[in-house]
Point group: C2
Chain length 480, copies 2
Amino acid sequence: MSHESDDDRSTSAAGVIPVVLCGGSGTRLWPLSRQEYAKQHVALLEGESLFQRTLARVTGPPFLRPIVIAGVAAHFMVADQAAAAEVAIDLALEPEGRDTLAAVTLAAVLAARRDPEAPVLVVPSDHLVPDVAAFARAVEAAAALAAGGDLVVFGVRPSEATTAYGYIEPGSPLPTAGGHRVERFVEKPDADRARRLIDAGCLWNAGMFCFRPDAALREIEALAPETLARVTAAVDGATVDLDAVVVGDAFRRADKISFDHAVMEKTARAAVLPVDFAWSDIGDWKEAWRLAPKDAAGVAASGPVVATDVKDSYLRGEDRLICALGVEGLAVVDTADALLVAPIERTQEVKGLVARLAADGHPQARTPARVHRPWGWYQTMDLGDRFRVKRIQVAPGKQLSLQKHHHRAEHWVVVRGTAEVTRDGERVLLRENESIFLPSGCVHRLANPGKIPVEIIEVQTGAYLEEDDIVRIEDDFGRH
Amino acid sequence: MSHESDDDRSTSAAGVIPVVLCGGSGTRLWPLSRQEYAKQHVALLEGESLFQRTLARVTGPPFLRPIVIAGVAAHFMVADQAAAAEVAIDLALEPEGRDTLAAVTLAAVLAARRDPEAPVLVVPSDHLVPDVAAFARAVEAAAALAAGGDLVVFGVRPSEATTAYGYIEPGSPLPTAGGHRVERFVEKPDADRARRLIDAGCLWNAGMFCFRPDAALREIEALAPETLARVTAAVDGATVDLDAVVVGDAFRRADKISFDHAVMEKTARAAVLPVDFAWSDIGDWKEAWRLAPKDAAGVAASGPVVATDVKDSYLRGEDRLICALGVEGLAVVDTADALLVAPIERTQEVKGLVARLAADGHPQARTPARVHRPWGWYQTMDLGDRFRVKRIQVAPGKQLSLQKHHHRAEHWVVVRGTAEVTRDGERVLLRENESIFLPSGCVHRLANPGKIPVEIIEVQTGAYLEEDDIVRIEDDFGRH
């Protein structure tokens, strides 16, 4: 069935250029997400991230090769997750986040250089749309509407009077694809107002756009000419970093404002396409609970959970056994290094909580227990007074920097794959179950020359065991 | 001050033989306690266990060397904790638990062989009595009362109408030390009855006894002659196991009944000593919360806890950061391998929860993450498909068995102290930061010849990594 409809779609459109906006940190799903581990990259859904689900949604006909726009800090996370999802992407990196006007302008400029007339679909990377076929049908309708030069925003038909989203009031109908002019955009309302907006036929603003690059650039030129100039200059001044382009520093001077405020609310070419598919931005654990499969008592459980006489709760663990007894309306989210316990109804306060944790210097606000690096990841598994044990995974073909430490010695035991270790100029191949000692001061490097990930257990010993005791002599990833 | 009163006490009594009853598993403080890690051994109070606090309470004048009665499975836990508390004990091990009649009879028989007339104080190992001086004064009064041949039970003046304890109704006053005859024992009542009992002047049955061995044996002889015969035979047939005596198998046939039911409720020589000191058996997390220091909002927090807008809650962690937001009346107890979340008011249901976990085969019901062994402890810190990482601590002067594994190789890195390693007959001394490889099948042993604990990180590799892949060739602790 899906093959047939794919074939239908591929013949009905010349091809849509998807642009996935992948900036933002998103700590609202803390402790799963962190300041340095954005919501869209967390393995939220059966081991997949929202970013990966988004890529899957914009892959295959009618979609052309996706453009992903992310911050420089997310370079390797984005590249790794795209590779793991087996989706080839064009990756453009912003030197700093400048809100959606700059990001959408960048999308339009980049797409225009491929084809100024091919419809572009701009989607956030951290939204959930379970019905991929309905989504694809909506995109085809939006592309048809955009073909005439309109800037199309998706308006999701509300399922409840939420205060979490902005609303769009549709105006006069357009002749194409069920679209409407936009009467007006409405900021996130209070609950009363939300109910009145829904009664008046308003739609949720899903933050997804479809337009022809030439049409978008025309409107941006008229309404935000300075930002267009700066983004264009930034693209002209872009540099290549491995598999990505880093747009130039001119980007840093683009106006920091949303595309809605700067363009969509002002242009006469704004159109809204009402859509019916289920959609969510999973803005807090309450929303995650609402979307998750639940038992008859309203309990959504994932991981090793034993729930006894529990109602309407969200229980999420990893390795540790979670026993909940007699609680109701509670969110319990457990990770290797941090635990959240809060009423589901108050999980929108988690964002503020994380800000306070960060202000108080708790590392759990910033970094996850498993720290992702361009070459793979590491995680501290044990920590004593004068030792630290890490598990380190190196992706196939990758290597860490050539480095040395002043204050610590390291023992490496290979527990998976085959590692190539350089130690003071000597190179050795270590197979599973082999080990090596790296005295403090020795110049060393860990590489994975193989086809499967290498995993090692590293036992560090010494009086000072922090990450900043590192002298990088040579690095594939330009770090010092 | 305490020295003066100690001196007073040492002259006022010939010496009291304390007997600490240390049987029982006590899973009501799960996940801190486990079926194989009893409540009295958990480091509940600033790193100390209730057993250690109990030992401290019965050490120094007027107390003589304590007798500790425990199950064989607790042998090394009891010995280690007594050694850590620097209290020399006589340790008697029951081949199986047979309730308190058998245990108190054993106490009386053992004490009688020291001195049939010296007063004996029998106390459970898992109760909390913060005021040690008040406790000592009460013991002196009880000893004076017992000197005339009465069997004295301590009656704690109730601070609330709890349903968690049995009650004692005092009868006619005795001429000595404020004692009374016992009018009757009352089983744990319901709440209404508890209030009426308190109005009638009843006292909590604290399960603590004081008697002369000869007097106790006389009453036991009259009321439970078979048990006395079996316990006496078991003591005659006791064997020595390192620093303990294991009483003989006759003990297994002692009646399984409480000392209260079998003797105290029937003898004419039962006396009760009303006492005023604060006392608790810490029977659940609610009681632990009640006893813990709390902030103005009623929050008792220990470990790395961030509580935001939390009321009347018990938050206890170890390494992981616990963030509680907007909860009330909640107990959150986090350990390395299990987490409990329950309303404080329902924590008495934890015992049943653990029974269900055990029935469902959850190892967290039975063993703690840190597994205690006669030679020290180990804890799994990381576990993969084909590897396991443990931290292992060996006490000074102890050694593991001489052993081999069929299915796993081991890498050892010493991170603290100096280890002596035997490998296929060869003996090597490993200092901090040195390592050794033990291929599968090699005969090896880890020993600590030094004066401080040895800690090693063990990386096991292989396809089968369970504890039962071990062949013990030689063992200090008689294990096979």
